[in-house]
Symmetry: C2
Subunit: 269 residues, 2 copies
């Protein structure tokens, strides 16, 4: 694979690249190539340092909003990408997970298209699938779930309309960026007919050294709160498939207290 | 990255590996490593030859069912994985897309766990996200869709319960393995209140040289039929986000005839 000539389309000066859930080994081969050739990398706060180190020759610009930092608006990000591309630089816009799964990659792609800047999409491994998988939970499983609904949990208006209508237990639910909204999430689902004992997992820092999994139920989701920091990425998985984590011996078994934590046991960096 | 020592957990003798949508450049770095070290690779029919060529030292066993071929049952696949692992061989079970997104990876993981064979999951880029992305369609987009429902389309009982209940247009729908069931899919959605003019895309052979995209509406989904072969993987994307393919200039614009095909224009093998 390393012997092949580069297949970069020379016309694609901006690559919107999915960085995967965090572990550099879960980058795609194309993402690695783009990082190694980049002149400028614009990255989100969730992208870990070992991934950025692949872009050794590039200028790195964080677009994360953190207390005290200068805030880079979406307009600033777009302007920087467009200006660099017009100077002939190879730009990587690196996004946690996949650029098009709750990543606002579409907005940036539209800005590039409007400016006439050539770009490409490099899909990545989404945390919505990898976080449960690395905790031993298949989001679909014959006889349990033949589908999965992935929603943003950042506010109730983002998830409530779909969740209020969906037949309870008809598919697995995965909620990203929703840990702060867990009470609202629980209330919406229980009011819509989901059983309060529906199994729930919260997978924090999926694929990273600090990965850990909480297993409980909709009713006990509150109990997960003391052990998750605000800036840690968390995926919430809701449905019968969560019970498979026990059989698959990767995540912690369903404990009688409904609240247990343990570090991941799968290979990782 | 290539200089790093291998991080393979020596206890993990079977790797359930997502091969991504087809393009070898969309394999993860870990998947490439596992293939290069494998003694035995069990692969589905959808995994293309260039991906298999990475496992140059391994025996290759196809588990695909094709007319005339000897049929390898799921039990046969499990038995081969377990027997090889017990001989100390490194086994890669290679699955198109992601092993846990409609890939029956959970069943194989359970069989391995029951046999006491150590295994790991290597998540992959799911076609459910990559197929629309490579056609210029973000499955989520602010103001259009804050979630995506991924379902199997292999029979009506797999998708109808969820789709009949879901509030129309509340999320993007992605249907894998559902092209044969497109009439049933259309009927279920229109009967449930989805507008007949809802934009629909069918992306065939995503990320492969023969990738192409049909764009139409729910009502005209029948018209996509003459140009898709039975053994070509197809993803159906339903929702307002399909209209972005036009603006993103990757897929074909919405044509007045509702039926147009064109080859992909993004970089590929």
């Amino acid at each position: 694979m390393t012997d092949r000539p580069s297949r970069v389309d020379s016309a694609a000066l901006v690559s919107l690249v999915g960085a995967g859930p965090g572990d550099p080994e879960l980058l795609t081969w194309r993402a690695i190539q783009r990082l190694q050739m980049a002149d400028l990398v614009l990255y989100d706060g969730l992208v870990p340092r070992p991934v950025l180190q692949l872009a050794a020759q590039a200028r790195h610009v964080s677009v994360a909003r953190r207390a005290g930092d200068k805030v880079l608006t979406q307009g600033d990000v777009n302007d920087q990408m467009i200006a660099a591309a017009r100077r002939g630089e190879r730009v990587v816009r690196l996004k946690a997970g996949d650029p098009f799964v709750l990543g606002r990659g579409g907005e940036e792609a539209l800005a590039l298209a409007a400016a006439g800047v050539p770009f490409e999409i490099v899909p990545g491994v989404s945390s919505a699938v990898a976080a449960p998988a690395l905790a031993g939970i298949p989001v679909t499983h014959r006889g349990m779930a033949s589908g999965v609904l992935i929603v943003s949990g950042h506010d109730e208006s983002a998830f409530a309309p779909a969740l209020r209508s969906l037949a309870p237990h008809s598919v697995t639910l995965v909620v990203l960026m929703g840990f702060k909204m867990r009470e609202s999430l629980r209330d919406v689902l229980i009011a819509s007919g989901w059983r309060s004992i529906t199994p729930v997992a919260v997978v924090v820092n999926a694929s990273r050294p600090m990965q850990r999994t909480w297993i409980g139920t909709l009713e006990t989701l509150d109990a997960a709160s003391p052990v998750i920091e605000d800036d840690e990425p968390a995926a919430i998985i809701i449905g019968e498939v969560v019970t498979l984590a026990t059989a698959l011996d990767i995540a912690t078994p369903l404990a009688s207290e409904d609240t247990t934590w343990q570090p991941m046991t799968t290979p990782r960096l």
